[in-house]
């Protein structure tokens, strides 16, 4: 037990949690915006992978990391728009479209990567983002180097959580998004453009998913591999449910998952991996399914989730 505690109270460990949590936080917030507007986006896995690829490629070819980030965000937004056109504008079934977007995004990412870089024995890599120390704050013992000596994207993720909560709960736009996700009919009567609000939320969500993918290839691994996302999109789907469609809780769930993940990595490195690490990877999915069984009675999911809106159908 003392070994476990020793591992926890280390600068490197705390820093690792934040690094693992960052892409999950972006992806989870993206999925949450989409679902709060009533659109389940199962395309997340493919959107993250394609954005991870475009971000990496643009950064590799241009030498500019921020240009890569911009490319990833645009890719994510475009893929979000694709999902939005199919499910919101055309009203097609969200889960099947989502699987289609994931298959399409994954295939396109693999295809373009292979086309641009060919088959190489060691994957090409870039010099990724470097941690940026915040003056004074980074001098705080333990917490300072762990929290205030991080990648800029990590700070961005930390800021994104309260900003998302503010946007969702305290702005007219956020109110409209929640309305079209809860009761599109009433929103429509109140003059809220259901289609446009849903489109905006899905596109914003896609952009955040793109940022999540970019973090993986441009800060965490500094290379693109075919397994770079490896189910993180599905984790985000689970975390949104586990976090009850709330920015704070969802981000908190991402942090909790990152903690468990970082802990299992540490224990494994310390030679204490008696339990196969897949048992930990399974955890968020098992917990979410259990949580869903208990939660459903309170019906916290957006009411109109999975339901396309067609004005003429009354």
């Amino acid at each position: 037990m003392s070994v476990v505690l020793e591992q926890i109270f280390q600068v490197g460990f705390l820093a690792a949690i934040l690094r693992i949590a960052t892409p999950l936080a972006f992806a989870t917030l993206g999925e949450m915006f989409s679902e709060r507007a009533g659109v389940l986006n199962l395309g997340i896995e493919g959107i993250m992978l394609l954005s991870a690829m475009t971000g990496f490629t643009v950064a590799y070819l241009s030498g500019s990391l921020w240009l890569g980030i911009a490319a990833a965000i645009v890719t994510g937004a475009l893929m979000g728009a694709l999902h939005g056109v199919l499910t919101v504008a055309l009203g097609l079934s969200q889960h099947v479209c989502g699987i289609g977007v994931t298959l399409f995004g994954t295939g396109l990412a693999y295809f373009l990567y292979r086309l641009i870089f060919g088959q190489q024995s060691t994957p090409p890599n870039i010099v990724g983002f470097k941690p940026v120390a915040i003056p004074f704050l980074s001098d705080i013992p333990i917490l300072g180097p762990a929290v205030f000596n991080q990648f800029t994207l990590v700070y961005l993720a930390i800021i994104a959580i309260p900003v998302s909560a503010f946007v969702l709960y305290r702005t007219p736009w956020g109110l409209s998004v929640r309305m079209v996700g809860e009761n599109p009919r009433a929103a429509d009567s109140a003059g809220v453009g259901v289609i446009s609000k849903r489109m905006q939320a899905v596109i914003l969500g896609g952009a955040l998913m793109g940022l999540a993918g970019a973090f993986l290839t441009m800060a965490q691994f500094n290379a693109f591999t075919f397994g770079v996302v490896s189910g993180r999109g599905w984790v985000a789907i689970a975390l949104v449910v586990f976090g009850r469609w709330d920015p704070w809780r969802s981000a908190g769930a991402a942090l909790l998952f990152a903690f468990v993940d970082a802990l299992q990595l540490r224990l494994q490195a310390a030679g204490l991996g008696h339990i196969p690490y897949e048992a930990f990877l399974m955890l968020p999915f098992v917990l979410t399914i259990v949580a869903m069984a208990f939660m459903s009675r309170n019906a916290v999911a957006p009411t109109a989730l999975l339901k396309p809106f067609r004005r003429e159908e009354r």
């Binding site: 199962l42 055309l90 693999y110 295809f111 196969p276 999915f285 069984a293 009675r297």
Partner: protein
């Protein structure tokens, strides 16, 4: 001239063929841009693809072997979606079926008995996995889309954990399960090919499932439950029971996909035993318009694209991942095409 969208109540029968064909053509046309981007001739690339998939009898057997697991997952999804049980979990059910079949097949026993038990165990394992989202839905009103999707990850990690630890083949350096007994290997139907017994079973399963869906009370209940659960309830159908039974049926079919891969192709379980056959099942079921008979040509199409893409890659240098893009595009194109079953374009007003 102006056009107006009108709701459509019935669709002509030829739509069942025309829509998937149109979707496939649209997908191939859209993806030809990627072939051109790769600097290859579009017709040459598709030509190589076609002849590699259907060019000679060996190629045809390889395509059929590849199609077999997808026929099963396609049937699994088609059956489930008919009842509006949104089974996104065929992938996990396939893996569970493969694990159960491999576990049973490793015990020494007469070949015929082994194959029978492997089939039963695989079907049962697939059904057991599908049972979870079904019960969660009817008991706790849990959304089946998300729960069945998340189960895929759970089963995958369970498989990985097993083949890396207690179930690892001691004679292999890789995370891979011990092989099944030689006697349990499915017999090859044609000398010199990989055409195994499971292929025949899959081809027979499709008409059988079609019979169940169209000619039995169970099939009728599935259909009514999917189309109008309220009416079904008034008609005395216990909708919850039908949903659970459909899930078991669907899961068993997806489990059989795993049985065939273990018994006829890989003879053991590894992490990449399914390159997403469960998700392909969704593409196939949609292309088939949920008709079990349509599942066979749809699965053969995807299998042909997959086997053909590898040959195309060798011949033209176009990355074989084109097959993944075609698969995704075909699904999205089919969904758009389905709009024509709900709406029709009607010309209104005079000439412009």
């Amino acid at each position: 001239m102006m056009f107006r969208l009108e709701a459509r109540t019935t669709t002509p029968a030829w739509f069942n063929v025309a829509l998937p064909v149109a979707a496939i053509v649209a997908a191939l046309v859209l993806c030809s841009g990627l072939i051109a981007l790769a600097g290859a001739g579009v017709f040459e690339a598709y030509g190589v693809m076609f002849s590699a998939a259907f060019g000679d009898s060996y190629a045809i057997t390889e395509t059929l072997v590849r199609a077999t697991p997808m026929i099963f997952t396609g049937l699994a999804v088609a059956v489930a979606f008919r009842a509006r049980f949104w089974n996104i979990g065929a992938e996990g059910q396939l893996l569970a079926g493969a694990m159960a079949a491999c576990f049973v097949g490793a015990f020494p026993m007469p070949g015929l008995l082994a194959m029978l038990l492997m089939t039963l165990a695989g079907a049962a394992a697939g059904a057991a996995v599908a049972f979870v989202p079904a019960v969660l839905r009817v008991r706790f009103k849990v959304d089946d889309v998300v729960s069945s999707l998340l189960l895929n990850s759970i089963i995958f990690y369970a498989l990985m954990a097993l083949i890396e630890t207690v179930w690892k083949d001691p004679f292999s350096g890789y995370p891979i399960s011990p092989p099944i007994e030689d006697a349990a290997n499915f017999p090859v139907l044609m000398e010199g090919t990989r055409l195994h017994l499971g292929v025949l079973v899959a081809l027979l399963a499709a008409p059988l499932v079609w019979l169940v869906m169209t000619r039995t009370v169970f099939g009728f209940r599935i259909k009514v439950t999917g189309e109008n659960p309220q009416a079904a309830r008034y008609g005395g159908i216990r909708v919850e029971r039908v949903l659970v039974a459909t899930a078991l049926f669907s899961g068993a079919l997806a489990g059989l996909a795993g049985v065939g891969e273990v018994g006829g192709v890989h003879f053991q379980v590894m992490s990449d035993i399914s390159p997403g056959y469960g998700y392909s099942g969704i593409v196939i079921a949609m292309l088939a318009r949920l008709n079990p008979l349509g599942v066979v040509p749809a699965a053969i199409f995807l299998a042909a694209v997959m086997t053909g893409a590898e040959a195309m890659s060798r011949a033209t240098g176009v990355p074989a991942f084109l097959s993944d893009v075609i698969q995704g595009t075909a699904l999205l194109a089919m969904l758009v095409a389905l709009l024509f079953t709900a709406y029709r374009l009607r010309r209104v007003g005079g000439r412009a």
